[in-house]
């Protein structure tokens, strides 16, 4: 979350989340069925008469439907992609109608493991099904239909959000004009899955986890969440960015030969972990990391991503960042290769940015100029 005070001039300003209830059951990829569910979303800008200017923003691991603007009762709670979306910004809300949605299984208002299971009257907890990128796209498609949007001018996202944008073009080729696929991978590597598994183990081995039914015990596996978040943060930053930001700086100015916080990086990670553990649901974290692990559109095509993308019709802007070691440029190039094999309209940019995986959230002028130019080229 951006803690800076909101810049009123080019912001969408005060926003209000909306809840919508769906009571047509949704069959998930796992075979489980969500009999009914709520999705929480926000919108910025105005849907035009032809309903052709809608842009869907897909969120990554820890974000939400709160993409731009701020809340009247909390002006410091600025949307996670506010630097990109707003009046006059690269995704210009004077032209586009932008939608942010909290994914199914989330913990920011959409139905998730902490929600009440109507069948039992108790929180879903461990019983909440495992959701996938494909399931999220289906739920998002239902929201689009509910809002009267047949086709998105663009579906945009970074990291796990980019996987959803990519999945949209495969699941609903006629419903996407452009996909912005930023800091993505066509599937996780063993190393990526390994990091996720350590994060999950941190949570599930926390004595407060109670097999996922911690709500009934009035506790939260805070220690596990905290470790999961600390680990995640290490993978979001590059070695250089960390060195630049923290180096070997000592909080107290000298080594104390103890195990309390000494280095600035320790302080930073503990702070991030603590903050995260106060608002994020552990069961959601487990499920989102699983959705990441399972994402592999090529799997049903014998590992051939080009075959998986066959049938897609969208234009693509694929962007990677040189210092991103979590989803390196080589991973984006795998996606680009598959798109090229299908002769799809694709532009690929490799931005030489130092921030690591998190670069997709930064306002690097080269990155934002590309998105701006691409969005401006979209016919409505």
């Amino acid at each position: 979350m951006n803690a800076a005070a909101p810049n009123i001039a080019d912001s969408v300003g005060v926003v209000v989340p909306i809840d919508v209830h769906f009571d047509v059951p949704l069959r998930l990829k796992s075979g489980a069925v969500m009999p009914q569910y709520d999705l929480r979303y926000e919108t910025y800008g105005t849907l035009n008469e032809q309903r052709s200017n809608a842009v869907l923003v897909c969120h990554a691991l820890n974000a939400s439907h709160h993409v731009a603007g701020w809340y009247a009762n909390d002006p410091r709670d600025v949307g996670w992609w506010d630097n990109l979306i707003g009046p006059g910004k690269p995704v210009d809300t004077n032209r586009f109608f932008v939608i942010g949605v909290n994914n199914l299984g989330g913990c920011h208002g959409s139905t998730g493991p902490a929600s009440i299971n109507p069948a039992t009257g108790r929180p879903w907890g461990a019983d909440f099904p495992v959701v996938t990128v494909e399931d999220w796209v289906e739920a998002q498609a239902r929201l689009a239909t509910h809002l009267g949007i047949e086709r998105f001018a663009a579906v945009i996202g970074g990291s796990l959000g980019a996987m959803q944008a990519l999945q949209w073009t495969m699941s609903h080729p006629d419903r996407v004009g452009l996909a912005l696929v930023s800091a993505a991978a066509p599937k996780l590597s063993a190393q990526n899955i390994a990091f996720n598994e350590v994060a999950r183990q941190a949570i599930t081995t926390d004595p407060d986890f109670h097999g996922g039914n911690y709500y009934a015990h009035g506790v939260v596996p805070r220690r596990g969440l905290r470790l999961a978040r600390m680990l995640g943060h290490i993978t979001y930053l590059s070695d250089d960015a960390m060195a630049e930001k923290f180096g070997r700086e000592l909080r107290g100015g000298e080594i104390k030969f103890g195990f309390d916080v000494e280095f600035e990086i320790e302080s930073y990670l503990r702070y991030q972990g603590d903050k995260f553990s106060t608002y994020f649901d552990a069961n959601t974290y487990l499920r989102i990391t699983k959705a990441l692990d399972y994402f592999d559109p090529a799997l049903e095509h014998g590992g051939n991503l080009s075959a998986a993308v066959k049938g897609a019709k969208a234009r693509y802007l694929v962007v990677s960042f040189t210092s991103d070691w979590r989803f390196s440029p080589a991973r984006s190039r795998e996606i680009v290769k598959a798109l090229l094999d299908n002769r799809l309209d694709v532009t690929y940019a490799e931005i030489d940015a130092p921030h690591g995986h998190d670069a997709f959230l930064m306002d690097d002028p080269r990155y934002h100029s590309l998105i701006r130019a691409t969005m401006e080229s979209l016919p409505l």
């Binding site: 802007l317 190039r333 680009v336 290769k337 090229l340 094999d341 002769r343 309209d345 694709v346 532009t347 690929y348 940019a349 490799e350 931005i351 030489d352 080269r366 100029s369 590309l370 130019a373 691409t374 080229s377």
Partner: protein, 206 residues
Amino acid sequence: MIAALPARSDFSAIAGWIKPGAHVLDLGCGDGSLLRFLKETRGATGYGVDIADDNVLACVKNRINVIQSDLEAGLSGFDSGSFDCVVLSQTLQAMKHTERLLKEILRVGREGIVSFPNFAYWRTRLQLMAGHMPVSKELPYQWYDTPNIHLFTLADFEKFCRGHGVRILERVVLAGGRPVTTWPNMLGALAVYRLDRAGGAVPVSA
């Protein structure tokens, strides 16, 4: 729609060799104006490749698909035989890995089109005889700031092709935008070649 005027004198020659609707890869595409010209005049599809951030942005503004990539690293992101034609317009002389790139062009493309400034052009020879490195419309740099590291002549290029299994299908030599037919290695400022592999195309990988 009126097609944009070709920005460089080799564009018309290149367009003349592009079959309608051809799938084209333009290496070192700059702002994408050649691809845009080919799109508008030949109905071509395809992609540009460039390494510079500002060129990638210019291509997007020109509505041209572009892949940001370093040509020196080869064309491993492109399948064999996946393009009807791979174009390298006035870029070969600035490449470090000349041999490898030419080989890659004819792997990825069924045909290649390569254009370059002729270092044996008479005006160039005169400047050298006067004791200075040549500066011209085709070679607009000073010796100390030029990106052109492999300067060569028509004769050099044709000898190279003979020795590397590259077949010359057609050649257009230009000076001042006009075709040159006599003494091309002396009177030509810019050469444009259409090439393929002498032994036939590499089989398309499965």
